[in-house]
């Protein structure tokens, strides 16, 4: 009598175990898909991060050349203008002291230095670009605006690179976590296999496997929304 009631129960549990195994398989397959997707996204973010780092390094080199040229021209221009001014003032002093020949020579040299400076100003981005050009005669260019503009592109690229790096870490962590969940599902598979092969502890192993699957599902949900 006992045997006749025990057999259907055992069969019912076997069906339950088969269903659980099926669910576990589908779960593992879906998880494998999520893991591949996370890996692909991590790879892409990693590539973008490296690419932006390269672009940023190149931009820094270009900005370095440009700044060196612009400032070299600017300092030469300022130096020539100051030399011209000093020589002009000295020429005036000499003229007042009656040394007119020396004063004339110095005045000519002052004009030569001024011509050099004027040409430099005409060529300089700092004097010709309205963003930086002095707003009043004999004024100094807006060097702060120039430096801010020079560092804008590299800074933008650094921001993009940082974002890509953060994305890489995010997706790489997800991919790693999915692997951990897959390992847990392997344990569930093992327990379901044990449940399949033993009649005595079948329900215990099946419930244990179900618990592990529930844990894995909760962890997967947490990974997906994080």
């Amino acid at each position: 009598m006992n045997e006749t009631t025990a057999t259907p129960n055992t069969d019912r549990f076997r069906v339950l175990i088969l269903v659980l195994t099926l669910l576990n398989t589908i779960f593992a397959a879906a998880l494998a898909g999520l893991q591949v997707d996370a890996n692909i996204r991590a790879d892409r973010a990693n590539r973008d991060s490296q690419y932006y780092a390269l672009l940023m390094a190149n931009e820094l080199v270009r900005v370095g050349h440009q700044s060196a040229y612009d400032f070299e021209l600017f300092t030469t221009t300022v130096k020539d203008a100051q030399q011209s001014l000093v020589m002009g003032l000295t020429a005036l002093e000499l003229e007042q002291d009656g040394e007119e020949e020396s004063a004339a020579k110095l005045q000519s040299q002052s004009e030569v230095a001024q011509a050099r400076s004027d040409k430099g100003i005409a060529l300089s981005r700092l004097y010709t670009d309205p963003r930086y050009a002095p707003t009043e005669p004999d004024g100094i260019p807006d060097l702060e605006a120039y430096l801010a503009d020079q560092s804008k592109t590299p800074n933008d690229l650094v921001a993009k690179q940082n974002t890509a790096t953060d994305q890489y870490h995010r997706w790489d962590n997800k991919a790693g976590s999915y692997i951990a969940v897959l390992s847990i599902l392997a344990i569930a598979f093992f327990l379901l296999g044990l449940a399949q092969s033993t009649a005595h502890m079948r329900l215990f192993f099946a419930i244990s496997a179900l618990g592990i699957m529930a844990l894995a599902a909760a962890w997967t949900g947490f990974i997906v929304i994080s």
Binding site: V36, D43, R47, L54, A113
Partner: protein, 225 residues
């Protein structure tokens, strides 16, 4: 009688075993192909980064040359203006110096500043040098470096990665069909037939899906595997 023969459990065992072997082989091939596509994506990314590195090095050298020319060109222009001022001076010493500057200094500076300082096309209307134009011309002198296109490699990598995603879905479908066939192997009666039908159905669906994905992406790449 024929119906009974077809549903003979022993014969069904063999049929399902053969199906399992076939699906296993297909799944293995699908996993292999999916990995190949993933590997192609990684290769394209690597090529893109290498191209970006080469392109960056070429551009850095290009800018260095352009600004070197610009330095000489601006010095040439400034010294030319100085020589003109010396010429117009009443100081005979400066007049003589201007002649020497023209004879010895300016030709060397002009030579070093070329072509930026010697060609009018590089002079903007505001009197400054068109460095961007000179850079573009300078880069065009090396067509092999100009042809480097990291963005195209990255685009190809993204398409391979997209294909890998869809192929993974196909592979998962094949793996699921394997499970149903496994169930059919251990079950009996009508449940066996249902599971086998499900297994074959999912297998065919997975196979069709896999082939469609392959064809779509291969055609989009112009026939490249």
């Amino acid at each position: 009688m024929t119906e009974k023969k077809q549903l003979d459990p022993a014969r069904m065992d063999v049929v399902i075993a053969v199906l399992i072997a076939l699906v296993s082989l297909t799944t293995a091939l699908a996993a292999w192909r999916t990995n190949i596509v993933g590997s192609n994506a990684a290769d394209a990314n690597r090529l893109g980064l290498l191209d970006a590195l080469k392109q960056g090095a070429a551009q850095n050298e290009g800018w260095r040359i352009v600004y070197e020319e610009a330095g000489y060109a601006s010095t040439f222009a400034m010294e030319s203006a100085a020589a003109e001022a010396m010429d117009s001076s009443e100081d005979t010493a400066l007049n003589a110096a201007a002649q020497n500057v023209r004879q010895y200094l300016l030709p060397s500076l002009q030579l070093l500043s070329g072509p930026l300082g010697t060609q009018k096309k590089y002079l903007k209307s505001d009197g400054t040098f068109d460095l961007e134009k000179r850079f573009a011309d300078q880069q065009a002198e090396a067509p092999d470096l100009l042809a480097l296109n990291p963005a195209a490699s990255f685009d190809l990598a993204d398409r391979y990665a997209s294909e890998q995603r869809w192929l993974t879905v196909g592979t998962v479908l094949l793996a699921i069909s394997l499970f149903w066939l496994g169930l059919a192997e251990i079950l009996a009666g009508q449940r066996r037939a249902v599971n086998m039908t499900l297994g074959i159905g999912v297998y065919l669906l997975g196979l069709l899906f896999f082939l469609i994905v392959e064809v779509v992406f291969i055609v989009s790449r112009g026939g490249v595997l």
